[in-house]
Symmetry: C2
Subunit: 328 residues, 2 copies
């Protein structure tokens, strides 16, 4: 089988690619080719695999060429991130809405009804003054996004559902929780600090938290997130039921509890590198996102949240140690 | 003030135009100019009013010119209808999604933050197999549209909400119920028969009903629909609350009850002109639309459903008699 990952040079895309190459198969079929589309080249370790092909450039410009190929499964992860979309409205519409529509049309033109996993986000939820969110979010909770990124993700869910209903693709909408701990540098997402307040101190750097310690957030580790994407791709249509997005399982935790876990895993000196400085723009976006989910549909796919935050911190420390070992 | 009605040559658009010209003002301000945009010219009775200007052609082609004008209030009613969009997927995306986005961008470019009343539809609701609709629909019920028309309307609601949140327009999303009785010829909407089974028999013609008599539907008379559009346009932002769409009040009635009312208002001979012939495509679309609404937000604007279906039939008979008198 032939797989396409858009955003294949990104953190989630690269990690998904690594998992797929390691397992060698998906939905019971051998992976013969894995195309990683992104603005930049994927990691060299991935490129070194003979099954991997890179497709670099803006995704919208690649869609004509993609329509001439036939993919069995597509993971559409590429997107402009939340703070970028809030700062540049037109960029967000182009990168998220127009690009997704062009990709859907390319797959429709290819005509082989590929499975299409669309990575949506908990950012579709926001608190509309007239209709505040319930304390626990379910898959049938009405999203009232309060960011352009959330609006664009929610619109794309609708397109994926309709292209699926029309028989152009076999689409699956899946909402990712905030993925922590991301390695590397901050990426312009409003949620970026949730990785930063762990990653920077662990690396001996100070980090500023822009929201209050009692702010509750809905998180998932990279491993659980990849597990969710793969489970959704492998699920039969019968198990998925309808076309409405599935919220992936979330660990609900406060920022203060995250820092306690950091201290428990890495020590008080490391914890002391985090200070608080309120950022109203970030606090508004993040504070509007829900923190607690009822994930009945995800549970039917065998998916569970991370057990606690300290295991997420340890996952990051292990990843970091492994990477450091492979470099030396 | 200067008003734009897209779809101004259509039934709802023309009726809204007539009401606005008669009252001479909207939201407490005198109407100086009323632009009616549509594929064809508006009714000659409207064109004869010196305040009216016609703008004919496809709306998307007119958007560049519209961006150079400044409207105080825009009623965006123009759309390809449900059965059209189901038959021609690309036409629906172009006529409904692309055109609405071009219009929003034109108003954003004009830069004067006009009130923008977007006529969405109860067709955003449909029954997803995994998440069946609740028996009574509220404004915070998650739409899971099962038609391309419904998807496109719901996507445009999201755009209107975000352009409003960003301060580009002052948007108001309002979901119209099925408007009956429409005069003239069937218009390609899946709901068309709900007018046809009254209009055709009253005019001495046979009519075929494509759904079972026990099918329940959510209706509003033309007068109540226009009243709703005007109330939404006149409401302050404080009264509207958030940006989530407001469902207009609905009269819930079965098709069998509609025919009883027809018989009571026009006689058994007229009723006998209606026969039943099941049409699975129409029955699937219409059967998926909800029939009962909790309209708390609309009630806060002073809006109520029609009291019963016989008053809707009588409204049509009165309109018809008035038109016939004005022609003779």
């Amino acid at each position: 089988m032939k797989i396409l990952i858009t955003g294949g040079a990104g953190f989630v895309g690269a990690r998904l690619a690594r998992e797929l190459l390691k397992s060698g198969e998906l939905a019971g079929k051998t992976i013969r080719q894995l195309v990683l589309a992104d603005l930049s080249l994927p990691l060299s370790e991935l490129l070194a695999d003979p099954r991997v092909r890179a497709a670099t450039g803006t995704l919208i410009a690649q869609c004509a060429a993609l329509s001439a190929e036939r993919f069995d499964i597509v993971f559409h992860l590429a997107a402009a991130v939340s703070a970028e979309c809030e700062a540049d409205f037109d960029l967000g519409l182009r990168s998220n809405l127009d690009t997704t529509r062009a990709l859907l049309d390319a797959l429709r033109a290819a005509g082989n009804l590929p499975r299409f996993v669309f990575s949506s986000s908990l950012a579709v939820f926001g608190s509309d003054p007239a209709l505040p969110l319930p304390p626990v979010i379910r898959d049938d909770t009405l999203p009232t996004p309060q960011s352009s990124y959330g609006v664009q993700k929610f619109i794309c869910e609708q397109l994926v559902a309709d292209y699926t209903r029309k028989g152009f693709i076999d689409g699956r909408n899946v909402r990712l929780m905030t993925v922590v701990v991301r390695p590397g540098r901050p990426n312009g997402a409003a949620s970026g600090f949730m990785s930063g307040i762990i990653r920077e101190p662990v690396n001996g750097q100070p980090s500023v938290c822009p929201v209050a310690p009692e702010t509750k957030v809905a998180l998932a580790s990279p491993a659980r997130t990849i597990e969710g994407l793969i489970a959704i791709a492998e699920a039969t249509r019968e198990v998925l039921g309808g076309h409405t997005a599935i919220n992936l399982p979330a660990l609900t935790v406060s920022v203060g509890e995250m820092l306690q876990a950091l201290e428990a895993a890495a020590g008080a000196d490391v914890r002391a590198l985090v200070s608080f400085k309120h950022d109203p723009a970030i606090a508004r976006l993040v504070g509007g996102w829900p923190a607690a989910f009822d994930n009945s549909r995800a549970k039917c796919l065998g998916l569970e949240p991370d057990p606690d935050f300290i295991s997420i911190v340890r996952q990051y420390l292990d990843d970091r140690a492994r990477e450091s070992a492979s470099r030396s």
